[in-house]
Structure formats: C-alpha cells, structure tokens
C-alpha cells in the first residue's frame, strides 16, 4: 500500500516536472525542471528494481546531460560576439 502510494506520488512528480520542462517560458527553468525530472527518474528506476539503470541515469541523465544542457543554455543566451560566426 505504502509502496503503491509512493509510486503514484513519484509518477505525479515525474509528470509535473516533465510538464514544467515543456511549459515554462524560461529556458533555464525548463532545463532545471528537466534535471529534477532526471533525479526523479533515478528514483523510478530504483523502484523498478533496476539499480543498473538508476546508476546510469544518475550519472548520465542527471549529471552529464544536465551539465550539457545548462552549458548550452548559457551559450544560447550569450550575445553573439563578432567573430563568432565560425
């Protein structure tokens, strides 16, 4: 019972953060919501008895992808400088 409640709650949290990822106006917010989503996914994998995936998600999903996305957001928000045309 308790675990089912946990699952449902986690599901709601996942959906909420996913929704925020797509629906917020600001890019950083979206990315941060996505990182939150990634962290919640780690919990979901843990609940699904998939520690391997939880590990990978923790490392890749929450960590690297988050950093990569944040870096990209910073890049996109930076003003274009002269000589930046590649």
């Amino acid at each position: 019972m308790m675990s089912l409640t946990f699952d449902l709650l986690l599901g709601v949290a996942l959906l909420w953060s996913a929704w925020h990822t797509l629906a917020t106006a600001d890019l950083i917010r979206a990315v941060v919501s996505f990182i939150v989503f990634g962290l919640l996914m780690v919990l979901a994998w843990a609940r699904l008895d998939a520690p391997d995936i939880a590990l990978a998600e923790a490392a890749i999903g929450a960590g690297l992808t988050g950093a990569l996305l944040l870096d990209s957001v910073g890049h996109l928000r930076a003003r274009r400088r002269p000589g930046d045309n590649g």
Partner: protein, 92 residues
C-alpha cells in the same frame, strides 16, 4: 529491521514534491536550481531508504553516484548557464 523505511521514503518524496512549488514560483533561476539541488540530497536519502526497504544494496552505489554527480549540474549552472539574471526576475 524497522518498518520505518517506507513511510520515511514517502515522506521525503512528499517533501520534494512540496519543494516543486518553489521551482514553480522562482523567482530567480537560482531558486529553481536550489530545488534541483534539494532533489539531489533528497534523492540520495530516498535511494538509501529504498535500498534498505527493498533489500537492494546496489542502490547505495546509486546514491553515491548521485551524490557525486548532482554537483556537476549545479556547477555547470553557476558557471555556465546563469550568466545573466533574467532581467524581469532580478528583484530582491
């Protein structure tokens, strides 16, 4: 074995959900990032509790990795993403 793991895990998750309110409210990008960091520490706690509750010791490793790597996103945020406070949000 205590029977506390499940209720506590549930409690912590509810906590995190409540924190999402802050993420929704902002106002600065940093506030949202704080929520992400909270999810990091909270997530580590929940993982450990789940690991104990489900008898899955490997989740400790997952928690460890999460603890190590959640910081990266934060660092990237501070270093790379949050370069200009959103003009409309920069209020005390």
């Amino acid at each position: 074995m205590t029977a506390l793991e499940w209720p506590l895990a549930l409690f912590l998750l509810a906590n995190l959900l409540a924190a999402l309110l802050r993420a929704a409210r902002g106002p600065t990008a940093a506030d949202r990032m704080l929520v992400a960091l909270l999810f990091g520490t909270g997530g580590v706690g929940i993982l450990l509790l789940l690991g104990r509750a489900g008898g899955n010791p490997a989740l400790v490793d997952a928690a460890l990795v999460l603890a190590l790597l959640a910081a990266i996103a934060g660092a990237a945020f501070a270093r790379r993403a949050w370069t200009d406070g959103d003009a409309d949000e920069r209020r005390p």
